[in-house]
């Protein structure tokens, strides 16, 4: 049965079982491999994508649940990989192995959308579902603050 959804701004139709997790639709049907498989059980956050702007764990989200919805993955976060979070990640050399970082960035992007100036505690709470096995948390936290700054600065510039 064909399931229609919107991925990174493009309408797509996939002919897969309704219970196939979105993660595997993205990775193996749509060839978008930026979203990562870590645990398959919603425990590590490596597979985080946005469903209508809200972060979800794609490894435990059946594709049928996103029929007709908009999904954004790391590949679609910004036009030229220049989202303030992506810039800040480069500035602080955040990743080690980097495998979790797409999920970290997607969770952080959703946080900044609704809270443009999060505190440490708010960041910690939002990021709790994202495991970094290499332990880059202190840099992730710093980079989120930096991205918030960059976003505010860009906004101020636009308004001036």
């Amino acid at each position: 049965m064909a399931i229609r959804l919107n991925v990174n701004g493009k309408p797509v139709s996939v002919d897969v079982p309704a219970n196939m997790p979105l993660l595997w639709v993205l990775r193996d049907e749509l060839e978008q491999c930026g979203t990562k498989f870590g645990c398959g059980a919603g425990l590590c956050g490596a597979c985080t994508v946005h469903q209508d702007g809200v972060p979800v764990r794609s490894c435990v989200t059946p594709v049928s649940a996103v029929a007709g919805k908009s999904v954004t993955t790391i590949e679609g976060l910004s036009p030229n990989a220049n989202h303030p979070l992506q810039q800040a990640w480069l500035e602080f050399d955040v990743p080690q192995c980097g495998y979790c970082q797409a999920g970290q960035i997607m969770t952080a992007a959703a946080l900044l959308e609704k809270n443009p100036k999060p505190t440490d505690a708010e960041i910690d709470a939002a990021m709790d579902g994202n495991l970094c096995r290499c332990g880059t948390y202190t840099r992730i936290r710093k980079a989120i603050h930096r991205a918030a700054e960059l976003t505010r600065a860009a906004k101020t510039n636009r308004e001036e």
Partner: protein, 727 residues
């Protein structure tokens, strides 16, 4: 040896028109290495006519940053403009590149000399080409940012224009080539843009799991839940009829779980179908003799063995028993640490293609050379018929020193000639079929004299193995600290046989031993009425090298990091609120000296908060990439916290109980210390690796801080078993 051969340039090579710098160099050009074929600069350096340079990264990249650091070493000696450099990952070819592995924090020390010489040889060839073109002496020329300059005449020329001529010149001898004075380094010591970082943050398919080939199928491999059990039969016909399934078959295995375990392979058009089919899979297993093993039985056996005489001696200096009897104060304590899993985030996987008798592998291995040999043996193929491509991997931590995923993929692909197959484990496979950090039990006895000096030490180490043969990564070295620093010193051991596969986990042995040793030293410091840092300084004594060869221990380097971390943390100088304490630990491993201090609070409900950790390390004269280096230390500290608080693998009925991250928990952001202070002391020693040595001191530093904060001495890991949890 004199160089007699001539360079030849592969001008025609490559559709990009790149020139390959280098060519034949005389024999005996593997500096510091066993004899083998010569290593050529052309293996590592390609210069295009435009001046763009491609450098080859030889070793596996798993997040330790070696894909950036090793090319930086070449680039500095070659005086390149890093903006003109592209880094490519080498395929496995140890004849061409030298040893290619990532383990034991050896990538930097093993390549520091070689790659500087490769860069310097390349530079000499380019400079010589310019000297000949301009008819000036080489000595009058300098290089900078990919150009050769002749100051006297004001002339300069880009490397791209020189490469063709350079390659026709006599070969420099790598052993004789002149290296830069370290004060002239321009790239080494700078936090240059990390290779692959833009690809990582934009979701490019750069990992092993992302690699795809046209027509590729996907496989899962269900192994016997009991280690080394065998698949007898399975409902293969039912499985083959399920959606998306192409085939399914039994794999007999070869009796070695580090090579090819027995199990059931399911191959599908897409991985999810293969994984989903496992829900319907029914296998009859012959579980074999390991089915009776359990953590509970190991624990009971250890207590029984503690009551008996140790089975064998590992080291004895002086008379520990007499010294204990004569000591002013003694401490007697039993420590226990568990098996733990690597739990690297990217599950085991490998892509394989078998066609016309030849095998091609795309693998995330830390030891691809060993992987090739193992595939060769398991499949009965000549090594020359196997190609291994190295792919970036989502974490190693020692798990990918083993090559079981590689051999499994190769075996499955061999059953489907011409069809590429990607084997991918699910998380449960990965956690339940690891080569675990072995647990252990240590009965420690120590004594101090009336002056508070440590005079007696005895350790009865109950570990795993047969007779006096330890299983992998479960042993204690005879020179392990504080051996050589205590006059009456004994380590004896008794081994419990185990069927549980064990292997190196980041800072193998050290990751558990440092916790026991420095927790116990802390107990002795308190018994002696001494400050824990001062007690350790007294134990180390005067700056000097103690012991020889493998046992050489530089007390001066350790004193320096310990004194520095005490100063940076304000040790003994700050008044801490009630319920808050500081703890210290140090450890020498993998050629690195590290001391760490943790500041911790513990509340009335035993909730632990690590406020700050200070780490000071000495890994030699150069920190190649300071930002990556600090990242490794920060990560090791957080990794250590995970091991300390939560992680434990238990065995019941011969199988691993834990299956996923909810049962083998790693630290989350809110539990990570808000601040980590990392400092390096640059000593006059060759640069050594950083993946491992920062981890071991963290565990005792936090354990000892918990004692300082609340008076509870932790002797069993993980801390959750002692009633602690994160705040």
């Amino acid at each position: 040896m004199k160089s007699t051969r001539r360079f030849f340039l592969q001008v025609s090579a490559g559709a990009t028109g790149s020139l390959v710098l280098g060519g034949g160099i005389a024999q005996a050009q593997r500096p510091g290495r066993p004899a083998g074929p010569p290593i050529l600069p052309s293996a590592f350096i390609q210069i295009a006519p435009t001046g763009m340079v491609t450098l080859t990264a030889k070793n596996p990249e798993m997040g330790q940053g070696i894909k950036t650091a090793l090319p930086m070493i070449i680039a500095d000696e070659l005086d390149l403009d890093w903006k003109m450099v592209t880094v490519v990952q080498a395929d496995l070819n140890e004849a061409k590149y030298g040893s290619q592995s990532a383990g034991g924090s050896r990538s930097t020390p093993n390549n520091w000399d070689l790659l500087r010489r490769v860069g310097a040889a390349g530079r000499l060839m380019l400079v010589t080409a310019a000297a000949e073109a301009w008819s000036v002496p080489v000595a009058e020329l300098s290089t900078e940012l990919g150009r050769v300059h002749h100051k006297a005449s004001g002339r300069s020329v880009g490397y791209g224009e020189l490469a063709a001529t350079a390659a026709t010149l006599p070969a420099p001898d790598l052993n004789k080539v002149k290296l830069k004075d370290p004060k002239d380094y321009k790239l080494i010591g700078k936090s240059l843009p990390i290779v692959d970082l833009p690809a990582m943050v934009s979701g490019k398919p750069i990992y092993s799991i992302d690699f795809k080939l046209p027509g590729m199928l996907y496989a899962t491999f269900e192994k016997c839940p009991v280690f080394n059990g065998k698949a007898v039969s399975a409902n293969l016909d039912e499985i083959k009829a399920l959606p998306g399934i192409k085939t399914a078959f039994l794999v007999e295995g070869n009796g070695d779980v580090s090579s090819l375990a027995s199990g059931v392979a399911i191959v599908a058009s897409k991985w999810w179908y293969a994984n989903e089919a496992r829900k319907k899979l029914k296998v009859e297993w012959n579980e074999g003799p390991n089915a009776t093993h359990s953590t509970a039985a190991y624990n009971a056996k250890a207590q029984e063995l503690f009551a008996q005489k140790p089975a064998f001696s590992i080291r004895k200096d002086g008379d520990p028993e007499a010294a204990l009897a004569a000591a002013a104060k003694t401490v007697d304590a039993k420590y226990t640490f568990p098996f733990i899993s690597h739990a690297q985030l990217e599950p085991g996987n490998c892509t394989a293609k078998f066609e016309n008798g030849k095998l091609e592998l795309w693998a995330p291995s830390q030891t691809p050379g060993r992987g090739l040999q193992m595939a060769s043996q398991a499949l009965g193929l000549p090594p020359a018929d196997i190609t291994v491509h190295q792919l970036r991997t989502g974490g190693g931590f020692g798990r990918r020193l083993a090559n079981d995923y590689l051999v499994e993929a190769a075996w499955i692909a061999k059953q489907l000639p011409g069809t590429p197959v990607k084997l991918l484990w699910n998380r449960e496979d990965d956690m339940r079929h690891d080569f675990y950090r072995p647990g252990g039990y240590q009965h420690m006895r120590g004594g101090v004299d009336a002056a508070g000096k440590l005079v007696a030490w005895h350790d009865h180490f109950v570990s795993f193995g047969e007779g006096d043969k330890f299983v992998s990564s479960s042993n204690i070295a005879p020179g392990e600290f504080p051996a050589q620093f205590v006059p009456n010193f004994g380590v004896e051991a008794t081994l419990i046989p185990t069927g549980v596969p064990t292997g190196p986990l980041r800072a193998p042995r050290s990751n558990s031993l440092a916790w026991v040793i420095h927790s116990f030293i802390d107990e002795l410091a308190h018994a002696a009425g001494k400050d824990p840092v001062q007690f350790r300084l007294d134990l180390l004594g005067e700056p000097r090298v103690v012991g020889k060869g493998m046992e050489a221990y530089n007390a001066g380097r350790m004193r320096a990091v310990l004194e520095s971390v005490a100063e940076r943390s304000g040790w003994g100088k700050r008044k801490l609120p009630k319920g808050r304490g500081m703890g210290v630990g140090f450890h020498y491993s993998h050629s690195g000296y590290f001391a760490e201090v943790a500041e911790v609070s513990v509340d009335a409900q035993n909730r632990v908060k690590v406020h700050k950790v200070w780490a000071v390390g000495d890994v030699g004269s150069q920190i190649i990439h300071p930002s990556s280096a600090a990242n490794q230390v920060e990560g090791a500290i957080i990794d250590g916290l995970s091991e300390l608080m939560n992680q434990e693998i238990t065995i019941a009925k011969g199988r691993t109980v834990q299956s996923n991250y909810h049962q083998h928990q790693a630290v989350r952001m809110k539990q990570a210390p808000p601040e980590i202070d990392v400092h390096f002391i640059k000593s006059d020693n060759p640069p050594t690796g950083l993946g491992e040595p920062p981890l071991p001191p963290l565990l005792p530093a936090v354990s000892n801080a918990i004692f300082a904060a609340c008076g509870k001495r932790v002797r069993t890991l993980p801390l959750v078993k002692e009633g602690f949890r994160w705040a």
